[in-house]
Amino acid sequence: MPPTLIDITGQWQYLLAEMVLVGGGIVAMIVDLLLPRRNKSVVGYFSLAIVLAAITVVAVQMGRHVGGYLQFQYVGATGWKNTVVVDLFAQLMSLIMLVGALFVLVMDVYDWRGRQGYEGESYYLILFATTGALLMANSADLITLFIGMELLSLPSYVLAGLHRQNVKSNEAGLKYFLYGGLATAAILYGMSFLYGLSGTTDLVAMPSAIASQLPNERLFFDIAFAFLLLGLGFKMAVVPFHMWAPDVYEGAPTPVTAYLSVVSKVAGFAMATRVLIVPFLPVVAESTTAAHTGLPLVTILAIVAVLSMLGGNAAALRQRNAKRLFAYSSIAQAGYVLVGLAAMPGQSAATAGSMVFYLAVYALMNVGAFVTIEWVTRAAGDESLAAFAGLGRRSPWMAFAFTVCLLSLGGFPITAGFWGKFFLFSFAVNAQLSWLAYAGMVLSVISFVYYFRFIRQMYFVRPATAETLQVDAGNTVVLALCTVGVLFFGIVPNVLMGPAQAVGASFLSMLNAVP
């Protein structure tokens, strides 16, 4: 019997959501070519339907407890190689990113109204980028992971520069491309070390392969870690790898900024969990023994987290442009999630649940904030904080929704953001990182100052005009969903934390899986 190169019969379903997205993206591309210029929003609605279909696929698969590995076998090789893993972590992360993409598309359809340019492209590029984002959460192999990352990055560069008439947008596109390229190179170089050390690109097989190499090669693990942290730090936008973020966030079209700050960031964290934690668990375990000689990896992660929280929050204080302020805000938010990442090695995989919870909540509150920013700044033709003056009187419900999102970003109780921080920092305490939890919580107080600046504008300052803001139905629904979600998970966090809790177990099963 001739050896098969690849046999994935019966495994298709593990990539079903991605296939829906790619197929839909290609169809959207063809439809876009055939449509006349003024009807491009059809592509937007079609893309919305595609993302909804992908959400349905993931949800149904979760409901049926579908899970497993997509594997193949080289010609003549023995044993199977994993490429894609579908576990609860991947599914929840995929859901977060898909919902984020859905909301961004709704924003995008409005954003193109009254504008000329590459409208159709912006819709299907989001579809392609989201495919890559999903792959980053799903992959069980370095190569798949890298392809997913590139599939996310390349459309993102284009999306950031899509407003060709706007100089800032051009700057954003170019800057993002150059910095992103550098980050990609660093990640690839780090991965090459991992491959060289373990002899495999398979993430499932990697920890045990690494454990056997560990005693002699500690230096090279540190080098690999350093390069991966550098590259992923760019993708997640954490201090000191954040320099691109403010310019790109400010220059990119607002829906794209929302996309970068939500979907890209979540994907970055999904990837970081896969390559920055899983392969290094044996390394960290070795660090606790007396004989270790290498870098304190957990401490390095913790320091990066503190730097992000400090740098992001402190720099945000000085911003007057709403989008730029939110760039720094999301740098600080990434710092909070990094606290969870730093707690992961010491605390085994259970912490992944708290990261999933926080990222889900972060997606809701940040999208809610960006919807408001989009509407207010476009109506005012002004991206400064002053554009929000008197919103509490002009559009009370919108101001209320924005306030809820801001309070949640700041971590005030009865919003979901509070529980997000509570879970992350509690795991840090449990992982013997109490100092990090204290530092994180205290540094997050800085953010009150600038989040409350928006609130001050909305409620304390008299509006320049009395007219109410008219918001279209789609964006109203998105904003309402985000706000209700933030409040709902704030009152009954266990609805989300229950499933997220199980992520840890599913993550562990990946570590223990025998391919």
Binding site: P2, L5, I26, M29, I30, L33, G196, E217, F220
Partner: protein, 123 residues
């Protein structure tokens, strides 16, 4: 790290040293023997024998050259991937055939996009 690892890097270093040495060595060797008679005409860039009409640094290429080059890469890559497929066709059966056509179709979409966006038209 096993010594083999460093040995493979040694080859890289060797190549680097040899490459640099070769370039500088040959040029230096040449300068020992060749006559040295500079003139203005010798300093102008060589453009297939035609006399240059503007300064070389001011020459601007039409951006469409790049677009055409990109389109060329499209078909070039296509060939690169189709060749091994054709060689291994007997072992890949129907599955390989479908795969290849999906691949071609995707490239086709790219071509259609370029066509529609008037990349192929020289204006």
């Amino acid at each position: 790290m096993p010594a083999v690892y460093w040995h493979s890097w040694l080859v890289v270093v060797l190549f680097l040293v040899l490459g640099v040495a070769l370039a500088f060595g040959l040029l230096g060797l040449g300068s020992l023997f060749r006559p040295h008679q500079p003139s203005a005409a010798k300093k102008t860039p060589y453009e297939s024998g035609a006399i240059d009409i503007v300064e070389a640094k001011e020459v601007r290429f039409n951006v469409r050259y790049y677009l055409f080059a990109l389109m060329f890469v499209l078909f070039d890559v296509e060939t690169v991937f189709l060749f091994p497929w054709a060689v291994a066709f007997n072992r890949l059966h129907l599955f390989g055939l479908i795969e290849a056509f999906i691949f071609l179709a995707m490239l086709g979409v790219g071509l259609a996009y370029a066509w529609k966006k008037k990349v192929l038209r020289w204006q």
